[in-house]
């Protein structure tokens, strides 16, 4: 089944643009680009789709759902319009905060360009271990956040979510980034923090393996067999998570 525009918009906003918070935390160049004299927040409001805000303060970004109270508001008349902007095929005109236009053009747009470099890296760039690590970690957070958006909005993802029991899943890379996938009443929420009390654990043995999985070079099921992916706990949750992960690949592919 193909992706749908609304789910893609949720994924683009929460997972892709939302990863700017991880980019600024991990990459000094991103922090420099995100530095402003005063805190500034950019809201995204999609008719018939998601809303979210990226807030910038002292070079670090944080993402939150909802576009209320933002300094600059970017309205989109449809999910497809947001998707076009993220895909570099469209632009957005602020409906509020016109005085912050220079932040958008001189800082935010270059920041999204930098994000793209880390999410779609040139093969030669990955030869640099520092870049490889940051790129893979940012990608990890994109996928972790995308899991919840696909589970909550995609038709096939919803089917998997409907069969997932409540609990927290510890989703992470050994010695690397970790996230909590929280399931309550068949709704998923990604918290970009280690899981305190997991009901299930899915752990990649290394960032290298995570990269291979994200790039579609290896398959999770085979890696479970070889022990490169460790799983334990409520395996039915991970079974469903793996199916949603497959759907994430359809959207991010």
């Amino acid at each position: 089944m193909q992706e749908d525009a609304t789910t893609l918009a949720y994924l683009n906003l929460h997972a892709v643009l939302g990863a700017i918070e991880n980019l600024t935390a991990l990459v000094p160049a991103a922090r420099r680009l995100a530095t402003t004299a005063k805190p500034v927040s950019v809201g995204f409001a999609v008719r018939g789709g998601p809303a979210g805000t990226l807030a910038f303060d002292q070079g670090l970004a944080t993402f939150r759902p909802g576009a209320q109270g933002c300094d600059v508001k970017l309205p989109f008349s449809s999910p497809a319009k947001l998707n076009a902007m993220v895909d570099g095929k469209g632009t957005a005109i602020p409906s509020r905060g016109l005085t912050k236009i220079s932040f958008l053009t001189k800082q935010f747009v270059p920041l999204t360009g930098l994000l793209e470099q880390y999410l779609r890296p040139a093969p030669e760039a990955l030869a640099d271990p520092e870049f490889f690590k940051a790129s893979t970690e940012v990608m990890f957070y994109v996928i972790a956040a995308a899991l919840s958006q696909v589970a909550n909005h995609d038709q096939v993802g919803r089917f998997s979510a409907d069969h997932t029991v409540d609990g927290d899943i510890d989703f992470g890379v050994a010695g690397g980034p970790r996230a909590t996938i929280r399931v309550r009443g068949h709704r998923f929420e990604t918290v970009k923090e280690p899981c305190a009390s997991p009901r299930a654990v899915m752990e990649f043995e290394s960032l290298g393996l995570a990269r291979q999985l994200f790039d579609g070079e290896v398959v999770a099921l085979a890696c479970i067999g070889t022990g490169q992916i460790a799983m334990r706990g409520m395996i039915s949750m991970l079974d469903n998570l793996n199916r949603i992960l497959d759907r994430v690949a359809v959207y991010l592919g």
Partner: protein, 416 residues
């Protein structure tokens, strides 16, 4: 008690990864088989006899999975194998079938309460697919009602919407209800009146990762009544439980009569044959279907099946399995309690399901199962188990000893 090591198994698995997708695919693979942690489990067997198998490293296991069901009399049962090998000397896969096919069908019709005929295939999934085709052809309807948590094989109709390679169209006619949920079934049948071809279910809920559930009092009588009212074919998938609960079929065990019943696993003690049996009114429909396979009329598995069912009758198989299941689970529960754990046993004793209820994540349970496997008792942490005739009291005592030591190992890591 020494702990197993798996050097040769690991080497073989590495070799397998080069030429077999996933190394070992499907339910016997480390992913679907929930080998947690991976290193606690053997990958390849070297030989099997009675209730044991030995892996490549020479480790012996008391096997409570029984090949996921087929081993019902003991690996290499002499009577069954003698019948099969005698038949092999005569003929097996020939241009026209052997009369062994008729003999086996007659035995099933005489044995299985709802059976007026038998149709042979190879795997359980062949029979569930045939049952669905029969129901659709007979009723000229499309939809099928499933019970949540179901597994009826891997044919496209039996897959789920979110499985890789499955199209929405493949499962578009699938409807779902909960186990023991009569109001839910009434609602689904009423909402789809005149459109439902079949209700397919296992005789009791023996799904994975959850405590297995028996039918509530009156459940099956009400299901039968609803199927009759709505003209729906009642299919019992007895692939897993068949001949372990009742030689007359698990529908007979629970006091009702299925229209169609699917058998495999315990039917021939590991020789590859399966059977769909059914009532007279569906016989001509089945005769009109295009459904066959190259090996479906081979005589050797028929001879094995005849010998297997006759031996199960002679030994009173189901009664023995229930008694042994109660004995082993009773001892496992005692061992758990001695270490301060609460081991929940569910389902039918002949196919018992285990779960340590001291956490809600199954992590403790997975640790305990791994410790048992490392000490030579093959259990799984996600699936029901199986009893076979070759299991002795001594094996049960050994199992209890291993279980106690395994509980102790887990307790040391998780002190009270």
């Amino acid at each position: 008690m020494g702990l197993n090591t798996y050097t040769k198994s690991s080497e073989a698995f590495a070799r397998a990864l080069g030429v077999i997708p996933g190394g070992i695919y499907g339910h016997q693979g480390p992913a679907e088989g929930c080998y947690i942690p991976s290193e606690a489990f053997p990958r390849f067997s070297a030989r099997a006899e009675g209730t044991y198998f030995w892996d490549l490293d020479g480790n012996r296991f008391v096997d409570y999975m029984c090949g996921y069901g087929p081993n019902v009399l003991g690996y290499g049962d002499k009577d069954v194998n003698a019948a099969a090998l005698d038949q092999l000397k005569i003929e097996d896969c020939v241009t026209i079938p052997s009369v062994k096919m008729i003999e086996f069908a007659e035995l099933l019709v005489d044995t299985v309460a709802c059976a007026d005929w038998a149709f042979f295939c190879k795997n359980g999934g062949d029979t569930t697919t045939l049952a669905i085709m029969t129901a659709r052809a007979h009723t000229r309807r499309k939809k099928v009602v499933f019970v949540n948590g179901y597994y009826h094989g891997v044919a496209m109709w039996a897959q789920k919407l979110d499985y890789p390679g499955v199209l929405p169209e493949d499962v578009a006619n699938n409807l779902y209800v909960g186990w023991n949920d009569i109001p839910g079934l009434e609602r689904v049948l009423a909402q789809n009146d005149g459109e439902v071809a079949a209700f397919i279910s296992t005789p009791y809920m023996h799904g994975n990762f959850v405590d297995n559930e028996l039918p509530a009092p009156g459940y099956w009588h009400k299901v039968r009544e609803l199927c009759d009212k709505h003209g729906v074919v009642l299919i019992i998938d007895d692939v897993r439980a068949g001949f372990r609960l009742d030689l007359a079929g698990s529908d007979h065990h629970y006091g009702f009569k299925a229209d169609l019943i699917c058998f495999c696993k315990a039917i021939a003690n590991g020789w590859n044959v399966s059977a769909l049996c059914g009532q007279e009114h569906l016989k001509s429909t089945v005769a009109g279907l295009t459904y066959t396979g190259s090996y479906w009329m081979s005589a050797v598995p028929f001879a094995a099946g005849i010998a297997c069912l006759e031996k199960l009758k002679a030994i009173g198989g189901p009664e023995e399995f229930a008694a042994k299941g109660l004995a082993v689970t009773g001892k496992l529960r005692e061992a758990a309690a001695d270490a301060g754990f609460n081991l929940v046993v569910s389902g039918e004793p002949a196919l018992f399901y285990l779960r340590l209820a001291d956490d809600d994540s199954l992590m403790l349970h997975q640790e305990w199962v791994a410790e048992c496997v490392k000490r030579g008792v093959f259990l799984t942490n996600h699936h029901n188990h199986f009893i076979n005739h070759a299991l002795t009291d001594k094996d049960i005592d050994f199992t209890a000893e291993v279980a106690a030591e395994a509980f102790q190992a887990v307790r040391e890591r998780h002190p009270l």
